[in-house]
C-alpha cells in the first residue's frame, strides 16, 4: 500500500515530465498498431532518429534561448548557409572534413554572438534582431549557391555524419556488435551513477525514494535503453547522427543541471532583475546562450547537408519553427526560467514520430500539418493547466 502511495505522489509531482514520456509512448504504440508493427521496425526507428537529428540539436539550443526569455528565428537559414559554406570548403577548396567541421562550428558561434550582441548590448528585441538575421542569412545562402545551384559533396568522411553508422566490429546473429556493447555500457553507467547518487544522499542523510521504487526505476530505464539498442542493432547500429545527438544531449543536460553556469541561465530566465542584483552578469549569460545556439545551428547545418550529401538553395527553411515547436512540446515556457534539455529532445522525437508515423500511414501533407499543430497546442495547454494546478 505504502509503495503505491509513494508511486502516486511521485507521479503527481512529476506529472509534466511523465506526461511527455507517456504521450510519446502512446503515439508510438498507436502508430505501431496502425502500421502492423512497421513503425517500430529497426529500419524505421533508425531513419526516424536520423531525421530528427538536425532539428533536435536546434531544439536543445532553442530551449535555452527561450528559457532566458528570448527567441532565435535566424537558426534555420544560419544552418542552411553554414551548410553551404561547408560544402564550398569541402568541394571548392578541398579542405578535409575534420578541418571544415571545426571552422563551421566556430563560424556558428560567431553568428550567435552577433545575435547576442544585438540583443544584450543594443537592446533590440530578439524577435526582431533574429528576424533580421533570418533574412540576411537567407540572402547569403542564395548568394553563395547562386552560381552553382545545388553543390554536390563527394567527401565520404563528411557524408558519413548524416548517413553512416558506427563500425560494427562483427555481426552477432545479424546484430550490430559495437552497438550492443555501447548499449550495455550505457546501462551499466546509468545504474552505477544512480546507485552512487543514492549512496551519497544516504550518506548526507537526505530523503531517498524507497528501495522498491528505486529498483523498478532502474529496471524500467535499463529495459528502454536495451530495447532501443536492440532495435537499432538489428539494422545498421547507431548512426553517427544518433551518436552526435546523444553527445549534445548529455553535455547540455550536464551543463544545465549540474553547473553554476546552468543555474545562472535559469536564474536569468526566472527573474532577470533579481539575477542582476544577485551579481550574475546577465549580458554574459545572454552571449553564452546565443553563442551556443549559433554553434548548434552550425551543427544542424552540418548534419543536414551531410544527410543530403549536398548543399541546396533552400536548406534550412522552417527549421527554426520546427525547433521552436519541439522546444514547446518539450515543456519550455515563454515566461522564462522553465525548460529542460531532455524535454527538448523528447519534443523533437515526438514531432518526428508524428511525421514518420503519418507518412507510413499515407496521411496527406495537409492533414499532417494540422495534426502536428494540434499536438503542439495540446502540449502547451497541458503544460499551462498542470502549472496552474500546482501554482
Amino acid at each position: 500500500m505504502e509503495f503505491i502511495n509513494e508511486a502516486k505522489s511521485l507521479f503527481k509531482e512529476n506529472i509534466r515530465d511523465y506526461g511527455m514520456y507517456i504521450a510519446l509512448f502512446v503515439i508510438m504504440l498507436t502508430f505501431t498498431i496502425m502500421t502492423d508493427g512497421l513503425f517500430m521496425s529497426s529500419r524505421n526507428i533508425s531513419n526516424l532518429l536520423d531525421s530528427t537529428g538536425y532539428i533536435a540539436v536546434l531544439a536543445v539550443g532553442m530551449t535555452l534561448v527561450i528559457v532566458i526569455r528570448h527567441i532565435d528565428l535566424s537558426v534555420g537559414f544560419v544552418a542552411g548557409f553554414l551548410g553551404a559554406i561547408a560544402a564550398i570548403l569541402l568541394t571548392g577548396m578541398g579542405i578535409p572534413f575534420y578541418i571544415t567541421i571545426p571552422i563551421i562550428l566556430v563560424l556558428g558561434i560567431v553568428v550567435g554572438l552577433f545575435n547576442g550582441l544585438l540583443v544584450a548590448k543594443f537592446g533590440i528585441p530578439s524577435f526582431v534582431a533574429t528576424l533580421a538575421g533570418m533574412l540576411i542569412f537567407r540572402g547569403a545562402l542564395l548568394q553563395v549557391t547562386e552560381k552553382t545551384g545545388t553543390i554536390i559533396i563527394k567527401d565520404d568522411g563528411f557524408n558519413a555524419i548524416g548517413n553512416g553508422f558506427i563500425p560494427s566490429l562483427m555481426q552477432v546473429n545479424g546484430l550490430h556488435l559495437l552497438t550492443l556493447i555501447l548499449g550495455l555500457l550505457a546501462i551499466l553507467m546509468y545504474i552505477y551513477s544512480e546507485i552512487s547518487t543514492r549512496k551519497n544522499k544516504i550518506k548526507y542523510q537526505f530523503e531517498v525514494v524507497s528501495k522498491g521504487i528505486f529498483i523498478i526505476k532502474l529496471v524500467f530505464v535499463s529495459a528502454i535503453i536495451s530495447y532501443i539498442t536492440w532495435i537499432l542493432a538489428g539494422y545498421n547500429g547507431f548512426s553517427w547522427t544518433v551518436v552526435i545527438m546523444l553527445l549534445v544531449v548529455v553535455i547540455y543536460h550536464f551543463l544545465t543541471t549540474k553547473t553554476v553556469l546552468g543555474r545562472h541561465v535559469y536564474a536569468v530566465g526566472s527573474n532577470p532583475e533579481a539575477a542582476h542584483l544577485s551579481g550574475i552578469n546577465v549580458n554574459k549569460i545572454t552571449y553564452i546562450v546565443f553563442g551556443s545556439m549559433g554553434m548548434l545551428a552550425a551543427l544542424s547545418g552540418i548534419l543536414f547537408t551531410s544527410r543530403l550529401q549536398s548543399a541546396t538553395t533552400t536548406a534550412g527553411t522552417l527549421f527554426e519553427l520546427d525547433a521552436i515547436a519541439a522546444a514547446y512540446v518539450g515543456g519550455v515556457s515563454s515566461a522564462g526560467g522553465v525548460g529542460k534539455i531532455t524535454g527538448a529532445i523528447i519534443g523533437a522525437v515526438v514531432m518526428a514520430s508524428l511525421s514518420s508515423g503519418m507518412n507510413l500511414l499515407g496521411v496527406g501533407v495537409s492533414l499532417q500539418y494540422m495534426i502536428r499543430g494540434g499536438v503542439l497546442a495540446g502540449a502547451v495547454i497541458f503544460d499551462v493547466m498542470t502549472r496552474k494546478k500546482r501554482g
Binding site: 551519497n200 544522499k201 550518506k203 548526507y204 537526505f206 549540474k258 553547473t259 553554476v260 553556469l261 543555474r263 545562472h264 535559469y266 536564474a267 526566472s270 527573474n271 532583475e273 533579481a274 539575477a275 542582476h276 542584483l277 544577485s278 551579481g279 550574475i280 552578469n281 526560467g337 522553465v338 500546482r390 501554482g391
Partner: protein
C-alpha cells in the same frame, strides 16, 4: 461650508486577516481643501481606494455618503460619474500620446463613434487654460516635466466635471517652484467650487493650504483638525501621527561595541539619466563594524537609490564622490563587485527583483553564491542541500521542504528566504531595504532577532525603513533622508518620532 459633500461612516476594510481600516469616519465639507495625513501604511491610500471604487461596494463595511446620498461604487468609472476623481502619485498618463489625447483618454469627444479631434483640441486648450498650463496641446506628454504632467492630470480631471478631486502626494516628485504652482492652483480650484482631498507628507504644505486635516493612524481616524480654529500646526500633527508607544517587539542587544567604519561615503551623488534628475545629493555617510544604522525618510526620499548606488549601481546612475570599504576606496561597477567587497543588499521589492519565484527555496538561497557549493563550476548537489538546509533552519523559514517553490510561501517566509540568500554570501555589510514591509508581527520579531545575531557575529547593517518604530527600536544611529539628501544624523538618544518626522518633512 457647513454642508458636507462627503461623509464616510464606519469604514472597515480587511485584507486576508489584516485590518487595513477599522471603523474610519471621514467628513469633508463642500469647497474645502482637506488634507489626509498619516504614516506609510496608516490606511490613507486604502481609504481613498474605497472611496473611488477600486475596492467595490460590498468588499468593505460602512457607508459612503456623497452629496447627500449613499453611494455604491462598483468600479472606478462609477465614482468618476459621480464626480470623484483621484490622481495617484504614479501618474496614469500615456507618455507617448499628446496632451490633448491624454486629457480626453477614455472620455473621448465623438460623433457616431468617430473622434472629433478638432473639438478635442479646442476643449483641451480650455482645460489647459484652467490649470494655467501654457503648452501646445499637441506636445507629447513624455516631453513635459513631471510638474507639468501633474497639471495635465488635473486638466484631465476637470474635463470630467469633477466635484471632488483627490490628490495622492501630488508634490512628492516636484521641485519647489512646481509645488508652489500646484498649491496655488488648488486654491483657485477651491474658489471655483471644487472640493479637494490631498494626501501629503509635507507638513509645511499642509499647514499653508489645508482648511481641515484628518490624521489616520493604524487604520483608524485619530482626529480632524480645523484650520480656522488654528488647530493645524506641525507639533499637533506629528504628535497625532506617531502617538502610539513603541511596543516591545524589538529584541534588545546587550553588548554594543563598534569598530572601524566598514563603509564610508564622501560627497556621494547619483544622477539618474533616465529620470533626468539627481536622486542622491552630496551624501556623507558611514557605518561602523557591529552597528545598525537606520535610514529614515519618506517614500521617494532617495533611500533606495542611495542603497543601489552603493550596491554596484544596477540602475546605471552617474556617480560622483568617494566610496570606501574598510578604508579602501573602491569602484563598484556591478552588483558582483559589491558582493565581492562584502556588501549585500536585500531589496524592498522581494517579488519584483529579489526572489526567483518559480524556483525552490534551495535555489534561491544559493543563487548569489553558488561558488560556495561548487567545485570548478560543477555544483555539488548534496553540499548545496546540506548548507541551504542550515539557512532554512536558522532563518526560521516555515516550509514543508527545501524543494518548495518560493512563490507559494507567505510574505514573511519569502522575506526570510531573501535574507537567507544574502547571508549565504557571507557579507560584512548587509543593506536591508524595508526588511519587514508587508509581513506579520511574528515574522518581524524573527527578523529583528536574526539582525541582532548578525551584529553579534560582527556584521554591520544599514536598515532603510519607513516604519519609525522599527528605526527607533533597532538602530544605533539614524540618518534622515529627504529629497535625496541627508537632512540630519541623530544618535539613538536624540532620535524620537518627532525629531525624525521634522527632518523628513522639511
Amino acid at each position: 461650508m457647513s454642508e458636507n459633500i462627503l461623509e464616510m461612516h464606519g469604514i472597515s476594510k480587511e485584507f486576508t486577516g489584516v485590518k487595513a481600516l477599522s471603523n474610519v469616519n471621514f467628513k469633508v465639507g463642500k469647497g474645502e481643501i482637506h488634507c489626509l495625513i498619516g504614516e506609510n501604511g496608516a490606511g490613507k491610500s486604502t481609504l481613498m481606494k474605497v472611496l473611488s471604487g477600486v475596492y467595490p461596494y460590498g468588499t468593505y463595511q460602512g457607508d459612503i455618503v456623497f452629496e447627500g446620498s449613499v453611494q455604491q461604487f462598483n468600479k472606478i468609472s462609477d465614482s468618476v460619474k459621480a464626480g470623484i476623481v483621484i490622481i495617484y502619485q504614479e501618474l496614469a498618463l500615456f507618455p507617448d500620446l499628446t496632451v490633448y489625447e491624454n486629457i480626453f483618454a477614455g472620455n473621448e469627444i465623438k460623433q457616431g463613434g468617430i473622434v472629433d479631434w478638432n473639438r478635442t483640441i479646442a476643449e483641451a486648450k480650455k482645460m489647459l487654460d484652467k490649470v494655467k498650463l501654457d503648452v501646445n496641446p499637441e506636445t507629447l506628454v513624455k516631453d513635459l516635466s513631471v510638474g507639468k504632467q501633474q497639471l495635465v492630470e488635473i486638466a484631465k480631471a476637470l474635463s470630467k466635471d469633477v466635484k471632488l478631486l483627490i490628490l495622492d502626494e501630488p508634490t512628492a516628485a516636484l521641485n519647489e517652484d512646481d509645488s508652489e504652482n500646484l498649491l496655488n492652483l488648488l486654491g483657485e480650484l477651491k474658489e471655483q467650487g471644487i472640493t479637494c482631498i490631498m494626501i501629503s507628507h509635507k507638513l509645511k504644505e499642509v499647514i499653508s493650504i489645508a482648511d481641515k486635516a484628518t490624521v489616520l493612524r493604524d487604520g483608524q481616524t485619530i482626529c480632524t483638525l480645523d484650520g480656522a480654529k488654528g488647530e493645524i500646526s506641525e507639533h499637533v500633527i506629528i504628535k497625532n501621527m506617531v502617538g502610539r508607544e513603541i511596543e516591545d517587539i524589538y529584541p534588545k542587544r546587550l553588548n554594543k561595541s563598534f569598530g572601524e567604519p566598514v563603509l564610508e561615503l564622501r560627497s556621494w551623488s547619483a544622477y539618474a539619466v533616465h529620470l533626468g534628475r539627481q536622486v542622491v545629493k552630496d551624501v556623507n555617510f558611514h557605518v561602523k563594524k557591529g552597528e545598525i544604522v537606520g535610514i529614515a525618510g519618506l517614500m521617494g526620499s532617495g533611500r533606495t537609490e542611495l542603497a543601489l548606488s552603493i550596491f554596484g549601481n544596477p540602475k546605471s546612475y552617474k556617480l560622483q564622490g568617494e566610496l570606501l570599504v574598510e578604508g579602501i576606496p573602491k569602484t563598484l561597477k556591478h552588483p558582483s563587485d559589491a558582493i565581492r567587497s562584502g556588501i549585500a543588499y536585500v531589496t524592498e521589492d522581494r517579488k519584483g527583483d529579489g526572489l526567483f519565484l518559480i524556483q525552490d527555496i534551495k535555489n534561491n538561497i544559493s543563487a548569489a553564491n553558488l561558488k560556495r557549493v561548487a567545485v570548478n563550476g560543477v555544483i555539488n548537489d548534496n553540499e548545496e542541500v546540506k548548507e541551504t538546509t542550515e539557512y532554512k533552519k536558522s532563518m526560521y523559514i516555515k516550509a514543508s521542504s527545501l524543494e518548495q517553490v518560493v512563490g507559494n510561501l507567505s510574505g514573511g517566509n519569502q522575506q526570510k528566504v531573501s535574507l537567507g540568500k544574502w547571508l549565504f554570501v557571507g557579507p560584512k555589510l548587509l543593506i536591508l531595504d524595508e526588511p519587514t514591509r508587508g509581513i506579520d508581527v511574528g515574522a518581524k520579531f524573527e527578523i529583528y532577532t536574526i539582525m541582532n545575531q548578525l551584529i553579534e557575529e560582527g556584521m554591520s547593517i544599514i536598515m532603510i525603513s519607513s516604519e519609525l518604530g522599527e528605526v527607533l527600536g533597532m538602530s544605533d544611529r539614524v540618518y534622515v533622508m529627504a529629497e535625496g539628501q541627508i537632512k540630519g544624523e541623530l544618535s539613538i538618544e536624540e532620535a524620537n518620532q518627532e525629531s525624525i518626522m521634522q527632518l523628513a518633512t522639511q
